[in-house]
């Protein structure tokens, strides 16, 4: 905090009375502007400009360079694939977030306990996250393969089923399978984040609760959960946006199939762009997806947790 004492210590009190505050404000303003300039320019170059370019593309027939107004948007919205893709994206995002939060919380609480090998466990937990997506996809596509995959071998030899299960080719199993594979990848990271939040909770609060005779559930509900809640609000927003935008794993595992049961919006956009070679429609679908996420983000920011107290 600035105080008159601080100002006199650095000689500001010797400036003319009318000049002091103005010079200080100008200098602060211009310094702040200059300091934020590189980041602002970077954002303009790598986010604003490309997005504006894509927004422009959505108004053109990219094959002919002809201005077509909202034709690309009408094409996307009238496509029989659009609404099912929105539905798949919602199911994909919500199921991922629920499973990852529940399992990540359980593992984070587990890691927060004192036990032998905890440090080693924490390190091992990061392994799924550092494996490249392409490797994860290849590894699981072979493991769940119905002809020579290890999962089906176990299912058949254990008698759980008489016939192999086509995890990625059967419409009933494809989306759940891809969700679970994605969760396998992300749950350890969620667990480590939760663990780091738990480590930041003052021990004194737990000790006070114990002195007051609080049980495990009361301790979790009144101490652990409020701390987690505040952090998880921000993480939830990031997680939602990241999960909604995931394309690589879905594409590599199922390419949106079977019969479009895993065709999320990013996959649909890819198909428009590189399958149908219609960059204008792909750009329009991207803009629509951006607007959906923007509305979600704005609504999310209305939460009390984001209000400055």
């Amino acid at each position: 905090m600035v105080s008159t004492t601080d100002a006199s210590e650095i000689g500001l009190d010797r400036l003319p009375p009318e000049a002091g505050p103005v010079v200080g404000k100008d200098r602060g303003a211009s310094t702040g502007f200059l300091l934020s300039l590189p980041a602002t320019l970077l954002i303009l170059v790598v986010i604003v400009f490309p997005f504006a370019y894509v927004a422009g593309m959505s108004l053109y027939n990219e094959a002919t360079g002809e201005f077509v107004g909202t034709a690309n948007f009408r094409r996307v919205l009238s496509s029989t694939d659009f609404l099912p893709s929105v539905r798949v994206s919602l199911v994909w995002t919500i199921s991922n977030l629920v499973i990852q939060t529940v399992c990540g919380l359980a593992l984070g609480l587990f890691l927060n306990q004192r036990f032998r090998g905890r440090d080693a466990a924490r390190t091992l937990f990061l392994v799924p996250f550092v494996v490249p997506t392409a490797v994860v996809a290849l590894m699981f596509s072979w493991m769940v393969n119905s002809t020579f995959g290890v999962f089906n071998h176990l299912i058949l030899t254990s008698g759980l089923s008489d016939t192999p299960i086509n995890f990625l080719g059967d419409p009933r199993f494809a989306l759940p399978t891809v969700v679970l594979i994605n969760c396998w990848r992300w749950i350890p990271l969620v667990a480590l984040i939760i663990f780091s939040i738990l480590q930041g909770i003052p021990r004194s609060e737990y000790e006070a609760a114990r002195v007051e005779g609080a049980g495990h559930w009361a301790t979790f509900r009144f101490i652990t959960f409020p701390y987690l809640g505040r952090s998880m609000t921000a993480i939830g927003l990031l997680g939602t946006l990241l999960t909604f935008n995931i394309f690589d794993l879905i594409w590599l595992l199922t390419a949106g199939g079977p019969v479009n049961r895993t065709k999320s919006l990013p996959v649909l956009i890819y198909e428009f762009a590189f399958g149908l070679q219609n960059l204008g429609a792909a750009a329009a679908a991207s803009v629509l997806m951006f607007l959906m996420l923007l509305v979600f983000t704005l609504l999310y920011f209305q939460r009390r947790d984001f209000k400055v107290e």
């Binding site: 905090m1 602002t40 303009l44 504006a52 422009g56 393969n145 002809t147 020579f148 079977p258």
Partner: protein
């Protein structure tokens, strides 16, 4: 409000204005540039130079193939002091988007390796020029296989110079066929279904046949469509998918998948397909032949043979094929003589034979009669080891056919979208997964193709 609050807010509001202003400026600039880019750009001024540089794009990303390209480009450059060919490898996945970007920027390649569908897409956009003179020159010296030229002749010109061909054969396990009590490899559809069914069992599948929404399935199913003379496009250019011929092809394909394909047929891709063959799970496959090189590393290498794709009784012999071609962009019109020399060089029989044999033996086939006789092709060790199979490929090559190009002179500029959409695979996948009747699948397919291609 304290003075501190006021002082703190001042830079914040300034910063926000600056950011918003800069962002708005950025958006306006970007939209302005986008609009400017939409207008055709004038051709860049070519620098006067003694050496003509040819920018050559291709989609071969495998390091060995790029090296082979470079070897022959270097040899050409050494022989032609006034010309310098420079290769740029793009990869098929991103070739179209990169090409559109390059065209928008007014900086496309001079010549590009392509396929019939992409060539027609570029022709319909007005981005490429006819290459009749080059084709006539090569043809008069080395004689193209006619089926390789057909997909490039439309609208009173030839738009691509065929460089190599690829085609399907039926590959089968000789030991499993014998165990199944089948004396001869199948020649008809009935024999094919019967043999595949008999070879299925004990953890083996009679045929590794895909029913997935991908190009792999498109190729397999279209290859069957050829035998019933079923069509995607009619002679009038309209979608003619829903026909008795298509229903017949769908019926056969569905029967084959149900009787002899592995349960993961609806999710099969090239990777899992090859694994199934290499692991000895598959008894046969209808497809290209380059995977046989990987099979040579296994104990099963001597257990495979290949025949022409079986034909429906009384049907039309044939199978899918892909002629790969050079296409020349408008901006390179002034360099056409240099491009012609490069093209003709790559067609010189001994150059052509060695080039294709070393780049991807058993996949890329010479498509001129003289190159097919070249010593440099047949002396390659891999070709020599699979001589009977390669001879069979060359034997069936003249019967090759491709969707959208069935009729000489056919002009279907949406064929690139059709190929890229994977819609044929989608139809097959839906039929298999949802157990649609072939007629229902044909009905659905007609509507779906029209929707995807925006022809409704």
């Amino acid at each position: 409000m304290s003075s501190f609050d006021s002082a703190e807010r001042q830079p914040r509001s300034l910063s926000r204005r600056a950011v918003v202003g800069a962002a708005a400026g950025g958006v306006a600039t970007a939209l302005g540039l986008r609009a400017a880019n939409a207008a055709p750009l004038s051709a860049p001024t070519l620098l006067r130079q003694e050496t003509t540089e040819i920018r050559f794009w291709h989609q071969e990303v495998v390091p060995k193939r790029v090296e082979v390209f470079q070897k022959f480009i270097d040899a050409f450059n050494a022989e032609n002091s006034g010309i310098r060919v420079v290769q740029e490898s793009q990869g098929w996945d991103t070739a179209f988007s990169k090409l559109v970007s390059a065209l928008t920027a007014g900086n496309p390649p001079d010549v590009m390796l392509s396929l019939p569908a992409l060539t027609m897409t570029m022709q319909s956009r007005g981005d490429i020029i006819p290459v009749d003179d080059i084709v006539e020159s090569v043809n008069s010296q080395y004689q193209f296989v006619e089926s390789q030229l057909t997909p490039f002749k439309y609208q009173d010109a030839t738009w691509g110079v065929p460089m190599w061909g690829m085609t399907f054969l039926l590959h089968y396990r000789t030991d499993l066929l014998e165990e199944a009590g089948v004396e001869n490899p199948p020649a008809t559809w009935a024999e094919w279904l019967d043999a595949s069914t008999k070879m299925t069992g004990n953890g083996k599948y009679g045929i590794i046949l895909p029913a997935n929404k991908n190009l792999f399935t498109t190729e397999n199913f279209y290859s069957v469509m050829i035998n019933t003379d079923a069509r995607i496009y009619g002679p009038d250019g309209k979608i003619a998918f829903n026909s008795p011929e298509t229903v017949e092809a769908l019926t056969f394909y569905k029967d084959m998948v149900k009787a002899a394909a592995p349960p993961d047929a609806p999710s099969l891709d090239w990777g899992t397909w090859e694994q199934a063959l290499l692991r000895g799970i598959g008894a046969s496959t209808n497809g290209f032949s380059s995977w046989r090189q990987a099979m040579d590393e296994t104990d099963l290498k001597d257990n495979w043979s290949a025949v022409a794709q079986p034909v429906k009784e009384g049907g039309k012999p044939g199978q899918i094929h892909y002629p790969n071609n050079f296409m020349v962009f408008k901006q390179a019109e002034e360099k056409i003589e240099a491009i012609a020399r490069f093209t003709e060089y790559m067609h010189q029989p001994e150059v052509n034979g060695e080039w294709l044999a070393t780049m991807e033996p058993t996949l890329y086939l010479p498509i001129t009669e003289t190159s097919q006789q070249s010593d440099s092709f047949w002396s390659n060790p891999v070709i020599a080891a699979h001589r009977a199979m390669v001879e069979k490929q060359l034997e069936v090559l003249p019967r090759g056919q491709l969707y959208g190009f069935e009729d000489p002179g056919a002009y279907n500029p949406t064929v690139g979208e059709f190929e890229g959409s994977g819609v044929l695979g989608e139809i097959v996948q839906r039929m298999v997964i949802e157990d649609l009747s072939p007629q229902d699948a044909a009905d659905f397919g007609q509507t779906r193709i029209e929707e995807v291609l925006q022809l409704q």
